[in-house]
Every structure is written in structure tokens, then in C-alpha cells.
């Protein structure tokens, strides 16, 4: 599959742990922020001023739960539960599968998760939040 032309279809943009996509993802997102500190002082005019301090980023997602998922909530060692329980880091990549598209990658820890069995005729799902540590890099999939 070559570089995506035009708007990227959400179905194709997934979260990977290492080199493997999480099985049966429903929603995934990646967000970044900067801690801005105020530099306004008595010498300032009418406008407040700020400078950027530390940057941070988080990722989150949800997926359908399957006991036999290749990479799911309960996957030994590499799944969300074991990564949280072991307090182990995860190499995450947010990308499509297409060579030439953009990818974002970094290292994160599981900060929270929820396993949901809601109602009667619904899939069992799980949600997770990841706290990035260190830089989030942007590159081209090669």
C-alpha cells in the first residue's frame, strides 16, 4: 500500500505496540500539550505574556475484548493489563500501515484502564490511557 492520497480514513489509523497493532481497536487518540508559564510583569503592557515550559503527551484508546486476541487486554507480557501490572513501558506507534505515511512514536506507561461489560447485547470492551515519557517523534513510515 503506497502513501495515502487525501484524507486519511480513521479505520486505517491505528495504535501499535511495538510492531503489532492492537486487536480490534474501536477508538484511539494521541494528544500533546505544553505547560506554559506566565512571564507577565509590571513592565508588561496590557497583554499577558507566556513562554513554553515542558511538553507532554498522552495516548488513549478503546477496543473490543477477546480472550484470544493476538494483542489485547489480557495478552501475556505485552497486553494492557500486564504492562500496567508490571509497570513496564510500551513502545507505541500511531500510524496507518502504508509506507510513505506519517507515524508518531514514543514510549509510554499505562496510567489507567477500564474493562467494561455494559448491558446485555454489547461487546465487552476496554479503555486505556497511556502517559508518554520522553519525546514523541514524528517520522515517515519506511
Amino acid at each position: 500500500m503506497a502513501q495515502t492520497v487525501g484524507t486519511v480514513l480513521a479505520k486505517n489509523m491505528k495504535m501499535y505496540f511495538g510492531a503489532t497493532a492492537i486487536t480490534c481497536q474501536v477508538d484511539v487518540s494521541l494528544s500533546g500539550s505544553s505547560n506554559l508559564f506566565e512571564t507577565t510583569c509590571k513592565d508588561s503592557g496590557a497583554n499577558a505574556s507566556f513562554l513554553p515550559g515542558t511538553k507532554s503527551w498522552t495516548a488513549s484508546g478503546s477496543a473490543n475484548f477477546a480472550d484470544d486476541a493476538t494483542l489485547g487486554f489480557n495478552t501475556a507480557t505485552t497486553g494492557i493489563f500486564d504492562k500496567w501490572d508490571d509497570q513496564a513501558s510500551i513502545a507505541i506507534v500511531f500510524q496507518t500501515a502504508a509506507t510513505g505515511d506519517t507515524k508518531w512514536s514514543g514510549t509510554a506507561y499505562v496510567s489507567s484502564w477500564t474493562l467494561n461489560s455494559s448491558g446485555n447485547d454489547e461487546a465487552v470492551t476496554y479503555d486505556f490511557e497511556l502517559q508518554g515519557t520522553g519525546p514523541l517523534s514524528m517520522a515517515i513510515i519506511s
Binding site: Y16, T20, T70, T78
Partner: protein, 87 residues
């Protein structure tokens, strides 16, 4: 790319894949692993589960128009809106 492993494989992240398991990788990474001879490409609709080596893959397919069940209103006569007559 979805691939089905035919040999036990441990990747550079320490993830272990057993024969029969289906996993999704980027196209380039999938092609690299296929070239290594540890897996084969499978239908992109296959679910990434830990199958037995000889198990049939669970594949989601779109329902074509021929297979689609008719809408309950498909063969209904068109709606007629009766206008009120002025008395």
C-alpha cells in the same frame, strides 16, 4: 498487513508469535517478516486472533447487494398523501 505465523517468531520488541496466530503489522514490516519465512500474508479482513495452526480464520466480509435482505419497505406501494378537500 495481516499475516499468519507459520513458525514461532520473537521480534525485536520481545513479542512472541506462535504458528497459527494472526497479527497486523505495517505493510513494510509484514513484508519483511514474510520474506523471513516466519509468516504468510492473509486476508486483511481476518481478525487478529491466536488461532490453532489449522483453524479457519475469522474473516469479516461486506454483504453484497444480492445478499442483502430487502428493506421492509422496499416492496411497499408508494405513500399517497391525500389532500383535504375544501368545504
Amino acid at each position: 498487513m495481516k499475516v499468519k505465523y507459520i513458525k514461532t517468531h520473537t521480534d525485536e520488541f520481545g513479542d512472541v508469535f506462535q504458528p497459527g496466530w494472526v497479527a497486523e503489522h505495517t505493510d513494510a514490516e509484514g513484508a519483511r517478516r514474510v520474506a523471513l519465512g516466519v509468516c504468510v500474508e492473509v486476508d486483511p479482513g481476518a481478525r487478529a486472533f491466536k488461532y490453532q495452526p489449522d483453524a479457519e480464520l475469522s474473516i469479516e466480509t461486506c454483504v453484497t447487494e444480492d445478499e442483502a435482505a430487502p428493506s421492509p419497505f422496499q416492496n411497499s406501494p408508494p405513500l399517497v398523501v391525500a389532500s383535504k378537500s375544501k368545504k
